[in-house]
C-alpha cells in the first residue's frame, strides 16, 4: 500500500493541475462568446480574487488577521501610478516598483504583527490604512489627493486583452499561492499559525516564516493593485485604499472558504458577479449581497469551497 499511495498522490496532483488548467482554458475562451461588459466585470473580479487569495495566505495559513489588505494594495497601486506619472518608464518597471513598495509595506506591517496579537494587530493594520489614506490626501501634489491619480498609460483598451491578462495573472498567482500553501513552507506556516511554540520546538524559525508570508502576500497584493491601475487608467482612494475595499477582500475570502486559497478567488468572483447580477434590483443590490454573504457566514462557516471539501472528507 505504501509505495502505491505516493504514486497515486502524484497522479492526483497532476489531475489537479489538469482540472485547474482546463478551468482556466475554459475561462480563457469566454471573450469569444461573451460580451465585453461581462469581461470587464470578470477582469475586476479576477484582480479582487488575487487580493483575497493573498489575504488568505496571511490569515488562513500564518494565522494573522490583517484588517488592512488595502494598505498593501494601495501602496502597490499608487506607487505604480505615481512612477508612471512622473517618469513614464515602461509599464513593467512601474508594476515592479508597485510590487516592491508593497513588499516593503508588508515588512513594516509584519513588525507589529510579530509583537502584538489578536485585536491589537488588527487595529495596527487598520491604522496603517487610515494613515496611507491621509497621506494620499495630504500629498495631493504627488498622488492627486481626493481627485485621484490618472495615469497616462493603460495596458490595453481592448476588453478581451485586459480580461486575458487578468485571468492569466489570477491563474498564475493562484497556482503559486496554492502550490505554496501545499508546499513544505505552507505546512510550516500553518503550524506556526496554529501553535507558534510547538513550531519553534520543532526547529522552525517562526519569525522568519511569518515575515515571508507577509512579503509574499504583499507582493501579490501590490502587483495586482498595480495591474488594476493600468487597467482602470486611474487610481483613487475609494478604489484602492479605503477600508471598505479591504472589507470586501476579507468578506470574499471568508465567503469562499478560509484556508483554501482557491476559495478566496471563488468568493471574489461570486461577490462581484452577484453584485452585478443583482444590479437590476436597484439600490438594494449591495444590501442583498451583504445579506447573502451573512447567511453563508452564519450557516455554512466553511464557505462555498470548504463546504464541498468537507462533504468529501466525510465520505
Amino acid at each position: 500500500m505504501t509505495p502505491t499511495r505516493s504514486l497515486a498522490s502524484r497522479i492526483l496532483l497532476s489531475r489537479t493541475v489538469w482540472i485547474g488548467l482546463s478551468v482556466v482554458l475554459l475561462a480563457s475562451t469566454l471573450p469569444l462568446y461573451v460580451s465585453g461588459y461581462i469581461l470587464g466585470l470578470l477582469t475586476m473580479a479576477y484582480y479582487f480574487g488575487v487580493f483575497s487569495m493573498a489575504w488568505d495566505l496571511l490569515f488562513g495559513f500564518a494565522g494573522e488577521v490583517n484588517f488592512g489588505p488595502s494598505f498593501l494594495i494601495g501602496l502597490g497601486a499608487y506607487t505604480a501610478g505615481i512612477l508612471d506619472n512622473l517618469y513614464q518608464p515602461s509599464i513593467w518597471l512601474c508594476l515592479f516598483g508597485g510590487a516592491f513598495a508593497s513588499v516593503a509595506g508588508g515588512v513594516v506591517l509584519a513588525l507589529p504583527a510579530l509583537r502584538v496579537r489578536g485585536p491589537y494587530f488588527g487595529l495596527t493594520t487598520l491604522v496603517a490604512v487610515l494613515i496611507l489614506q491621509n497621506f494620499v490626501i495630504v500629498a495631493a501634489g504627488l498622488t492627486g489627493g481626493e481627485i485621484g491619480l490618472t495615469v497616462p498609460d493603460v495596458i490595453s483598451v481592448d476588453a478581451g486583452v485586459n480580461y486575458w491578462i487578468a485571468l492569466g495573472f489570477m491563474a498564475a498567482s493562484g497556482a503559486v499561492l496554492y502550490a505554496l500553501s501545499r508546499s513544505p513552507v505552507g505546512l510550516i506556516l500553518q503550524a506556526s499559525g496554529q501553535d507558534a511554540v510547538q513550531a519553534g520546538a520543532l526547529g522552525f524559525n517562526v519569525t522568519k516564516h511569518k515575515l515571508a508570508a507577509f512579503v509574499i502576500s504583499a507582493f501579490f497584493s501590490g502587483l495586482a493593485g498595480a495591474l488594476l491601475v493600468f487597467y482602470l487608467g486611474a487610481a483613487s482612494v475609494g478604489t484602492f485604499v479605503d477600508v471598505t475595499v479591504g472589507v470586501q477582500v476579507i468578506i470574499a475570502a471568508v465567503l469562499g472558504g478560509r484556508r483554501t486559497i482557491l476559495g478566496a478567488a471563488l468568493g471574489a468572483v461570486f461577490l462581484i458577479a452577484a453584485g452585478e447580477a443583482l444590479r437590476p434590483l436597484g439600490d438594494l443590490s449591495t444590501f442583498i449581497v451583504s445579506a447573502m454573504a451573512l447567511v453563508v457566514v452564519l450557516l455554512f462557516p466553511s464557505g462555498l469551497l470548504g463546504l464541498l471539501t468537507r462533504a468529501r472528507e466525510t465520505t
Binding site: F59, V65, P112, R115, V116, G118, P119, Y120, G122, L123, T124, L126, V127, L130, I131, N134, V138, V243, T244, V247, I250, I251, V254, R258, D283, L284, T286, F287, S290, A291, A293, L294, V297, L298, P301, S302
Partner: protein, 291 residues
C-alpha cells in the same frame, strides 16, 4: 480665549467619544465580541430620531426617545440574529469564532447602512436638539446643546458606573468579564448576562447616537469612521478597560481639537492616528490594558 475654546469644545467632543466607546468596550470586556456594526447602530438611532422628528413631526424629546429605543432594539437584534448564532455554533472552531464575529458584524453593519441609504438617502441627517440657543462659558459662546451633550454623557457614564459597581447584577457582569466560568459556577447564567449587557449596550449606543445627531450630525458614510474611532479609542485605552477608554477618549478628543485649532482642520485626525501607532509599538496592550 483660544485655550478656553479648546478646553470647552474638546470636552464635549471627548465626552461623546467616551460614551460611544464605553458601550463598545463593555461588550468586548464581557463577551469578547468586537462589534463592527457599532457605527451602523449609532447611525440607525440618529436616523430613527430624525425620521420621528422630521417625518412624523413629534417633539424633539419624543424623537430622541424613539432614537434611543431603536438603538436598543437594533442592539438586541444584532446579538440574537448575528452574534449568538455564531457563539453557539458547533461548526466553527473556538479560535476562529473571533474572525467570524468580526466578518458577520461587519456585513450586518453594511446591511444596516445600505438599508438606511436606500430608505432615506445618504445625505447627512441631524436630530433636532432638545435644548437650543447659546450660553457664555468663560467668555466662549457655547451652544447650550454642547453643554447638554457633555452633561448627559457623563450622567450616563456615571449611572453605568453605579450599575456595575453598586448593584448585584452589575457585580455579576463585572465578574463575568474577569472570569465567565467563575460566574457559571456561582449559579449565574451567562446567557442572562450577555443579553443584559447587549441591552445596556443598546441604550448606550442609542443615547450616544442621538446626542451625536444633535451635536454633529451623521450620514450613512459615517458608519465606518464611527466604528473605527470607537475601535481605536478602546484599543488605545486597553481592551475591556472602561476607565482606559474614558482616558483614551479624552486624549483623542483633545488631540483632535488642538490639531484643528492650532494646526489645520484638514489634519485633524492624523496626530491621533500617529499616537495610536506609537502606543501600539511601545505599549501594545494600550494605556490601561491588562489582557
Amino acid at each position: 480665549m483660544l485655550i478656553w475654546q479648546i478646553l470647552i469644545d474638546g470636552f464635549a467632543v471627548s465626552a461623546l467619544y467616551a460614551l460611544g466607546a464605553t458601550g463598545f468596550t463593555l461588550i468586548f470586556g464581557v463577551s469578547g465580541v468586537l462589534n463592527l456594526s457599532h457605527g451602523a447602530l449609532m447611525v440607525a438611532a440618529v436616523v430613527a430620531a430624525w425620521v420621528a422628528g422630521g417625518e412624523w413631526g413629534v417633539s424633539s424629546h419624543l424623537g430622541a426617545i424613539f432614537g434611543v429605543l431603536v438603538g436598543f432594539v437594533m442592539s438586541l437584534l444584532t446579538y440574537f440574529a448575528v452574534v449568538r448564532p455564531l457563539q453557539q455554533s458547533s461548526k466553527i472552531r473556538e479560535e476562529e469564532k473571533e474572525i467570524f464575529i468580526l466578518t458577520a458584524t461587519l456585513l450586518w453593519g453594511i446591511m444596516i447602512s445600505e438599508l438606511i441609504a436606500y430608505l432615506y438617502t445618504n445625505n447627512a441627517k441631524t436630530v433636532l436638539p432638545i435644548v437650543e440657543g447659546v450660553v457664555m462659558l468663560a467668555g466662549v459662546r457655547t451652544p447650550a446643546n454642547e453643554v447638554f451633550t457633555s452633561v448627559i454623557c457623563w450622567l450616563v457614564i456615571g449611572l453605568l458606573w453605579l450599575l456595575v459597581n453598586r448593584t448585584r447584577a452589575g457585580k455579576a457582569v463585572l465578574a463575568a468579564s474577569m472570569n465567565p466560568r467563575g460566574v457559571t459556577l456561582l449559579g449565574v447564567e451567562l446567557s442572562w448576562i450577555y443579553v443584559g449587557v447587549w441591552a445596556v449596550y443598546g441604550m448606550l449606543v442609542g443615547i450616544a447616537g442621538v446626542l451625536l445627531g444633535m451635536f454633529l450630525g451623521v450620514s450613512s458614510y459615517s458608519v465606518g469612521p464611527l466604528t473605527a474611532s470607537a475601535f481605536s479609542i478602546v484599543v488605545l485605552g486597553g481592551l475591556g478597560s472602561v476607565s482606559g477608554s474614558l482616558i483614551a477618549a479624552y486624549v483623542v478628543g483633545y488631540l483632535e481639537t488642538m490639531t484643528a485649532y492650532l494646526v489645520s482642520p484638514a489634519y485633524r485626525t492624523i496626530p491621533a492616528l500617529l499616537l495610536l501607532v506609537i502606543v501600539m509599538y511601545v505599549r501594545p496592550r494600550g494605556l490601561l490594558g491588562r489582557r
